[in-house]
Amino acid sequence: MHKKRVSHGIFYVGLALAAFFCLPFWGAESTPFGVIFQLLGEEQNVAAEILLHHRFPRVLLAFVCGMGLAACGAALQVMLENPLAEPFVLGIAGCAAVGASLALSFSGLFVHWGPFSSVQLLAFGGAMMAVGLSLKMAARFGGATETVILAGVTVNILCGALMLLIRYSVDPSQLVVMDRWLMGGLDVVGWSNLFAMLPLILIGSVLLFPLGPSLNLMALDAGLALAHGVPVARVRFRICLATGLLVGAAVAVSGPIGFVGLIVPQAVRRISGPDMRSGLVFSALAGGVFLAFCDMLARTLVAPTEMPVGILTAMIGGPLFLRMLWVR
């Protein structure tokens, strides 16, 4: 048992390290590995600049977003007792996107302090609202997992309408930027975006990752978990808060990216078993690698341009989600 966990841990960490060191070298133009030595040297070089200021932050950003989404997905699936739960499907990402685009579109709502801005704040607010709603729905409909998903779909439709309303009322010149953001893109420049989401990610992680043992008991049975001494209500509140922070942070930068929080925890559970103590961390690592990899594909498949990674994850995740519904 213990040995298995250690070996799986090494596998996921190795995967993450490999992603960090290899993925930045692929892009619209692949960068030769030798460039890394020029980073250390004095002389300036375009390829080295691209690597340092475009590729590395981008891979890291993809990793952090994927990490947050997958870890939240894993926790939400247990909290809502619903293996199909996921930030995107439940409308959490959608609500966060509405919040973020409100801040992006109306200058009255846009306030910024250095790299931090009201975009994140409103995205967090939106995400919290949606998580709260899903929790209420899950409490009311209990075992009927499809009902909770249906509520999420409805929230997504509602968010879609709100987005249309926002788009209708903004300056047309901004529409292109907004569209790209909505499709889920990670095409950032420099390190400031990463720096801006760091506090949210850190607080979210500190809230979420120690919950493994409690989540294990809740995955066995929430009632039994309470009897065994898990403060279930408090754990749920912490998951909601962490989801708001992590998903809000990811959406504020990259737009709603779907299905990472669904596929990755499911795959990790299949490979490494249901233990949530390691499962949360493994899901986070695997989610980061998965999104970073998808982003690499998005950069290279249609080179010299690139496509938003959200399209790619949806094209992989959508059919898998349908399959899960089919075999249930």
């Binding site: 699936q77 247990v78 043992p213 294990n216 039994l224 978990a225 009897a227 001494g229 898990v230």
Partner: protein, 236 residues
């Protein structure tokens, strides 16, 4: 409750037995009034502290993911050490408890694939391994074959004599009558009879509740006590 006493709560469906047990376990907050545990109101204690004293098992456990049996048992020690098999002290307690409830042979099996009786014994091991002062079990023998039910009660009785008090909700009056030291009859949200099984079984409240087609007969082994069996339809 007296220490090391085996007390059964009996009564018809919908009479409030399970609710009573949930209130005692602090799983359900009381609408008014408060439940005291060693003189302190349950609501003010941490869940961990409560779990250390009380081992409550709900009527039904529906696992979301398929854990293996020893992980399920280890989770019972959440309030002691987080409930995983990492530490050797935990492993020892877990395996000892599994030995006691005779599920040691199920190690490595998936909990969700066990039969009803095996599940109940695994869950019992999960509360035993944290050595609570009192067990609160909700219908542990529902859905079990008669001999498995009797085996479970026998096991409980033996453990109870040595270590803790047990409060067991059961609708099986016969099992309760044979094994319990004390019997409490609950119906319509109130305690209607309380005492040693043979007294409670003869009380007015019980004959009122069950008497229409059922009768209490002396136990056929002639060592006292009663059993509840249906009356045959008399040929006219």
């Amino acid at each position: 409750m007296v220490k090391k006493e085996f007390c059964c709560i009996v009564g018809p469906n919908g009479g409030g037995k399970s609710t009573f047990l949930q209130l005692l376990a602090g799983v359900l907050p009381p609408e008014k009034g408060q439940i005291l545990l060693n003189g302190l109101p349950l609501g003010t204690l941490l869940r961990k502290e409560v779990a250390g004293k009380l081992g409550y098992l709900p009527q039904e456990v529906r696992p979301l993911y398929s854990f293996n049996t020893e992980s399920v048992v280890a989770m019972g020690r959440f309030c002691v050490d987080g409930g995983h098999l990492g530490a050797s002290s935990t492993r020892k307690a877990v395996f000892a408890a599994m030995e006691k409830t005779r599920v040691a042979h199920l190690r490595g099996r998936s909990f969700s694939r066990l039969s009803g009786g095996e599940r109940q014994r695994v869950l019992l091991a999960s509360v035993l391994c944290r050595q609570p002062e009192m067990l609160l079990l909700d219908e542990p023998t529902t859905g079990l074959d008669p001999h498995h039910g009797a085996e479970f009660f026998r096991l409980l009785k033996r453990e109870c004599r040595d270590h803790f008090a047990a409060l067991v909700v059961s609708h099986d009056l016969n099992l309760a009558a044979v094994f319990a030291d004390r019997m409490v009859f609950i119906d319509k949200g109130g305690i209607l009879a309380d005492g040693p099984p043979h007294e409670v079984l003869q009380s007015r409240a019980l004959t009122d509740a069950y008497g229409k087609f059922m009768r209490f007969w002396p136990h056929p082994d002639n060592e006292g006590g009663f059993v509840l069996l249906p009356e045959r339809e008399k040929a006219s």
